[in-house]
Amino acid sequence: MATQNTKTLARLMMAPSVLLLLVWMIVPLAMTLWFSFQNYNLLDPSNVSFTGLFNYQFFYTDPAFFQSIWNTLVIVGGVLLITVIGGIAIALLLDQPIFGQGIVRILIISPFFVMPPVAALVWKNMIMNPSYGVFADISKFFGLRPIDWFAQYPLFSIVIIVAWQWLPFATLILLTALQSLDGEQKEAAEMDGANFLNRFIYLVVPHLARSITVVILIQTIFLLGVYAEILVTTNGGPGYASTNLAFLIYRTALLGYDVGGASAGGIIAVVLANIVAFFLMRAVGKNLDR
C-alpha cells in the first residue's frame, strides 16, 4: 500500500515537468508540421493558403537539397572522426604525469568555452586567411603558395573549425574514462607480455568503448545542426559547397522569406536526424548496456 501511494505521489510530482517538456516539444513540432503544408511567404503574409505537399516538392527539387544532406553527413562524420581519434590521442598524453598538468588541462579545455561564431571568426581572420593568416605564413615560410581555405576547401575548413571546438569535449570524457582504468589490469597485461600497442587494443579501447559511444551520440546531436560556423565563414558557399541542411533551412526561411518551404525542410531534417539516430544506435548502442 505504501509503495502504491509513493508511486502515485511520484507520478503526480513528476507530471508538471513531463507536461512542460511535452508541450515544449509538441507545440513547435506541430506548428512546423502545420506550416509545412501552408503556402506562407513573409513577403505576402495576408495570402496564406493550404498547398498540400507542394512545399516538400519545392524543397526536394531544390538543386541544393541533396548536396546539403551530403554536406551535413560529411560534417558529422568528419568531425566525429577527428574528435574521437584526436580525443583518444590527447587523453592518452594527458594521462601521463607531466609538469604543469593543471594548466595544460585548462588550456586543452578552453576551446570549448569559446562561442562558435567567435571561434569561427578567429579561424577565418587569423588562421585561415590567405594573406595574413597563420597557415598562409607557414606556407610562405616553406616557399609554398598560401591556400585560400574557404574558397578551395570550404567544407573541409568547416569540419576543421567545428572539430577544434569539439575536441576538448571528447578529450575530457575519454580522459576520465582512461583514469578509471584499473591499474592492476594494466600491470597484469604487462606481465602477460602485452606491449603498449597490444595493451591499447585489448585493454584500453574496450574499456573506452562506452565513453566513445557517449561522445559519438552527444556530438551527433549537436553536429547535425551546425550553423554559426558556416554563417560567419563561407556563408554556405562557394555555390552550395558548404551548405548543410540547417543552413539551407535558414536560407529558405530568412533569405527567401518562405516560411512554408523552410518548415518542410525542418520536417525533413527531423526525419534525417531520426534515420541517423536509428543507424547510430544499431551500430554503437549495444556498448551502452552492459
Partner: protein, 334 residues
C-alpha cells in the same frame, strides 16, 4: 626452474626509504610467504621481483641470471593480483588465453593449454562467461589459470585471498597449497594474515619497515622467534610480554609467554587475575585477564574450563616454553 636471489635490493620513493637493503635467497620449488603489518614493504618487494617497480639499488637474479633491468614479461614470472585484475570485456577463455596470444602461440596449442588449465581449476563449465558473471572464488581461479598457462618459473601472489569471505579463503588456501604440490613451482606469496603464512609456507619471511626480521619455517618462527617483533607477530592470539620483577627473575628485560602455554587453575598459581572478557570459541576459550602487578594477559584454555567476566583465575607459565628477550628486544638463548 625458479630460484630467485635478491642482493642488497633497496627501494626509495622520493624521500621515503621503503626498503633499506634486503638480501634474500628463494630456492627452486619453495613456497615462500612474505608477511608483515601494513606498510612493511612486502608488496613493494614482490613488485620489485615482478619488475613492476624498478629497484633503486641492488640486483635481482632469477635462476642465476641478472634480471634487474629486464621488463616484467621477460622475467618469466606470473602474478596473481589482489583485485584479480581480470580483463572485464573478455570471456574466461580469452582471459586465460591472453598471455599465450601475446606470446603468439599456435591456436591449437592455446586451446589445449586453456582446456588443461580449466580442468585443473574446475573452470571448464565457465569458459564462455565474463568475469562479472563469476563468484569471487571463481574469479580468483581464473586469475590463477591465467598465471598457470604461461608455465612461469615462479608464481607471485599479492594478497590474493583478501577479497574473499572467511569460508572461501579457507578453501582457496587449500587449493593453492594443493596446486603447489602438483606443479612444484616456486611460489612467492604476500599476505598480512599470519594464519595464511603459517598454513601455506615452506619458508616465512617476516618483514617490518622494509627490513627482514626473520626467515624460517613456520614452526621455527613459532618456537624460536629471533626478536620481540617476530614473537609478537607470529601466533594467534599474540604472545604476552611481561616486564618488571618477573622478567628480571628470569634474567631478561622482557619475558614472553604464549597464551596456550599458561597453565590455568581456579584455586592456585603464580599469577592471579580477573577475567575482563572471555571469548568462547567452542573448543577453546580465550581469556583476557587483568593480572595484579603484571597487566593485561591473554590466556588460552579448554572450552570446558568455564570462566566468565569477573571470575578470578590463577595462572602458571610453562617455564620450558618461556621466551626471554634482552633490552634490545633480541631473543636470549638458554
Amino acid at each position: 626452474m625458479g630460484s630467485i636471489t635478491l642482493q642488497k635490493v633497496s627501494k626509495v620513493f622520493g624521500e621515503a626509504k621503503v626498503i633499506p637493503s634486503i638480501d634474500l635467497e628463494i630456492n627452486n620449488g619453495e613456497f615462500v610467504v612474505f608477511v608483515g603489518p601494513s606498510g612493511c614493504g612486502k608488496s613493494t618487494l614482490l613488485r620489485l621481483i615482478a619488475g613492476l617497480e624498478d629497484v633503486s639499488a641492488g640486483h635481482i637474479l632469477i635462476d642465476g641470471k641478472d634480471v634487474t633491468d629486464a621488463a616484467p614479461a621477460e622475467r618469466g614470472l606470473a602474478m596473481v593480483f589482489q583485485s584479480y585484475a581480470l580483463y572485464p570485456h573478455m570471456s574466461v577463455r580469452n582471459n586465460i588465453a591472453f598471455p599465450l596470444k601475446m606470446a603468439k602461440l599456435d591456436k591449437a596449442i592455446i586451446d589445449k593449454k586453456v582446456a588443461d588449465a580449466a580442468r585443473v581449476l574446475n573452470l571448464t563449465d565457465y569458459l564462455e562467461r565474463r568475469p562479472s558473471q563469476l563468484s569471487g572464488g571463481q574469479r580468483q581461479r581464473v586469475a590463477i589459470g591465467r598465471a598457470i598457462v604461461r608455465e612461469p618459473s615462479a608464481f607471485l601472489f599479492d594478497e590474493p585471498l583478501s577479497n574473499l569471505d572467511a569460508a572461501l579463503r579457507g578453501t582457496m588456501r587449500l587449493e593453492i597449497s594443493d596446486l603447489h604440490h602438483q606443479l612444484k613451482t616456486t611460489m612467492v606469496y604476500v599476505t598480512h594474515d599470519q594464519v595464511e603464512a603459517m598454513t601455506m609456507a615452506d619458508k616465512i619471511v617476516v618483514l617490518n619497515r622494509g627490513n627482514i626480521e626473520q626467515v624460517g619455517s613456520p614452526l621455527e618462527l613459532y618456537k624460536s622467534p629471533r626478536n620481540l617483533f617476530v614473537a609478537g607477530f607470529i601466533g594467534s592470539p599474540h604472545m604476552n610480554f611481561v616486564t618488571g620483577t618477573y622478567a628480571q627473575s628470569k634474567n631478561a628485560k622482557t619475558a614472553g609467554i604464549r597464551p596456550e602455554h599458561l597453565g590455568l587453575s581456579k584455586d592456585s598459581g603464580i599469577w592471579r587475575g580477573t577475567v575482563k572478557v572471555a571469548e568462547h570459541l567452542g573448543a577453546d576459550t580465550f581469556l583476557h585477564l587483568d593480572v595484579e602487578g603484571i597487566g593485561q594477559i591473554t590466556a588460552r584454555c579448554d572450552g570446558e574450563f568455564g570462566a566468565y567476566h569477573g571470575d578470578t583465575v590463577y595462572m602458571t607459565p610453562d617455564e620450558t616454553k618461556l621466551h626471554r628477550f634482552d633490552d634490545k628486544g633480541l631473543a636470549l638463548r638458554a
